[in-house]
Symmetry: none
Subunit: 413 residues, 2 copies
Amino acid sequence: MTEKRAAILLVMDGGGDRGVKDLDGQTPFQAAHTPNLDSLAKSGQNGLLDVIGPGITPGSDTAHLALFGYDPASTYPGRGPLEALGAGLDSRPGDVAFRSNFATVNDDMVVLDRRAGRDFTEEEGKAFKEVIDKLTIEDVTVHFTHTVEHRGALILRGPNLSADITDIDPHETGEKILTCEAENEEAEKTARIINKMIEEVHNRMKGLKVNQEREERGLPPANVLLLRGPGKHQNVSTLQNRFGIRSAVIAGGALYIGTAKYVGMEHLPVDGQTGTIETNFTNIAKKTIEAVETGFDYLFLHIKATDNASHDMNYEEKILAIEKTDEMIGRILERVSDKIVIGITGDHTTPVTVGDHTCDPVPLTIWADFIRSDDVEHFSEFHAANGSLHGIRGKDVMNLLLGYAGHIEKYGA
Amino acid sequence: MTEKRAAILLVMDGGGDRGVKDLDGQTPFQAAHTPNLDSLAKSGQNGLLDVIGPGITPGSDTAHLALFGYDPASTYPGRGPLEALGAGLDSRPGDVAFRSNFATVNDDMVVLDRRAGRDFTEEEGKAFKEVIDKLTIEDVTVHFTHTVEHRGALILRGPNLSADITDIDPHETGEKILTCEAENEEAEKTARIINKMIEEVHNRMKGLKVNQEREERGLPPANVLLLRGPGKHQNVSTLQNRFGIRSAVIAGGALYIGTAKYVGMEHLPVDGQTGTIETNFTNIAKKTIEAVETGFDYLFLHIKATDNASHDMNYEEKILAIEKTDEMIGRILERVSDKIVIGITGDHTTPVTVGDHTCDPVPLTIWADFIRSDDVEHFSEFHAANGSLHGIRGKDVMNLLLGYAGHIEKYGA
């Protein structure tokens, strides 16, 4: 009988890179001191991963859907539902969700500040939430939560909603908020609801005491919401349904938590986990070990620090993020190496020389203490090219991990 | 931000080969002196390309559609429209097009010479064109042009045409021209039009002065057209529509020009470019450099000489064609290496030991001065097998080139 193990997918966001001149042409993965990653590469299987497909530059959202074994072409709902789930809202199939900004408008709805000063306390966020969340327009209920700074997430729940609508954000100050328009007949109701909602939200927000207090402190009042990234929550089959597994996400960033929840993962919060280099790697390792030992079948671990450093074009910080991740892997292996199958990769390449996502494939290592190894000796984009996984697609990763971990039933008899 | 570059696809037609005994088992690519190709292979990415799929021997037309990023299964229109476009006719979606031969029949429509002597002057071609082109049968207009020797291209334009019809060419002299028949109900109109057209064309051609003159010179008169390769022009989305790019073809052969035009490329004529070893490689390089510098996003360069030598089973000439192409690449790199992403491959294998297309994959090298290299050091079928592109399909080549060249938008956010 095949022994069942916990499958772990560790994603170093934007981890793939190109050769860096100041590193003698090496990539950050090559230049970093990574005894644990190298050891897994050496005794594991390696390959180059086209997360979406050759030549296609993945977004973070579509990339993760693919890595979770879903075809983004049929399951990607747009950014809104993923961010809403990540922000803790209970987005459901049929809902239309958005990312939102607190903004400042004058009496003519002309935008004076698209971020209403950017800084908001938790208390302010709660006060605004109180007048927005649960608002009802016709037969549609609004769900809202404040996240960080001026940001939030908003859900519309009701029958016959559509995300095929135009933006209300003029994207420039001094311009009036735009009327939301339907891009097709099915979306007419949604556009109407949004226009009514924005008016109502403005009326409710503008007189709030917190806004008076902001103005007294010389801060712009938050008296309207701008919306972006509309998306309709699709009816996707969960990992539980597809594979009969109990799965969880351990991540700091809302988008990653949200995308994982979208396919049915639980979120396991970790004390001190953030989307930065300051995240608590030790606690992530501890939580992972705990989850393996309490019977989770699949764990998705997300490290964002590599991508932040890449967008900042800072190879030193990227190397540091990789080395801290490597140490974290060491802690996990020390405790549960005989209970797991682990896959380590990136969701896309973000070269520090470019500062943005590119289409280059990312290295993938899959390891278990029983797995047949190949000739690769180090974890890197260059070495992975010579591995036994050859070139592989993102949506095959889930099957590989769950297959080796004993969670996919024999196909046929 | 990802920098935008010109993507160049250089196809050495029939370039792939098998080991040749007289070359100590090397292929022509291995035996040729190719410092530029080897340099690109060494600092680029390499792989083996199944242009259509493993085991499938590509035709030149379907191979190029795949290399342009189209699925031949849904977009291949048959040879007619591609040849018609290549011959300079304005084939459009809905048209049915053919390749044609001038032929000689007697009064009973019995074929006496399927090529009417083969040689035709430009003036003769014009005289025949005058009585065929613009001919109207029912609501269908005929468009015709003479190309080389006895060859030409013919288009039927009108409503409800179909290419599901039988051949009128008996393929043997001494046999009567066949009646065109419909293969299904939808094609009945087209079959009727063709039968009427052939009769009318015969009546118009037979009395022409050029035919009297040909007979006076002891040449067979051209008094009918034989048709082959019927195809209906499909409604394919152009490269401009799909990728927002400006693209062009630099080729000598009509089929390659036509296939490129079919997907929306402009044709950039080059002084002295032909489909033979005598083509002006220097001028092709110059035109390429000019096109890169004037802002084309994608260029398709086609070299036919490698395939001609292969069909002639002449490895020496194939090596010469490869070496001349290599020099041409050197000229291009010297001037615009920092402005391009280049892919070099064949459309199929034509072994000099076989003299015909085979299913063997072809080598592919993709290079840009920023691209992550692999361990391959030479351009050849054998070395490419160890590259980081592994095994790849023809229709991924366009995405790879445009992806690295910055012309494909991020998928997702």
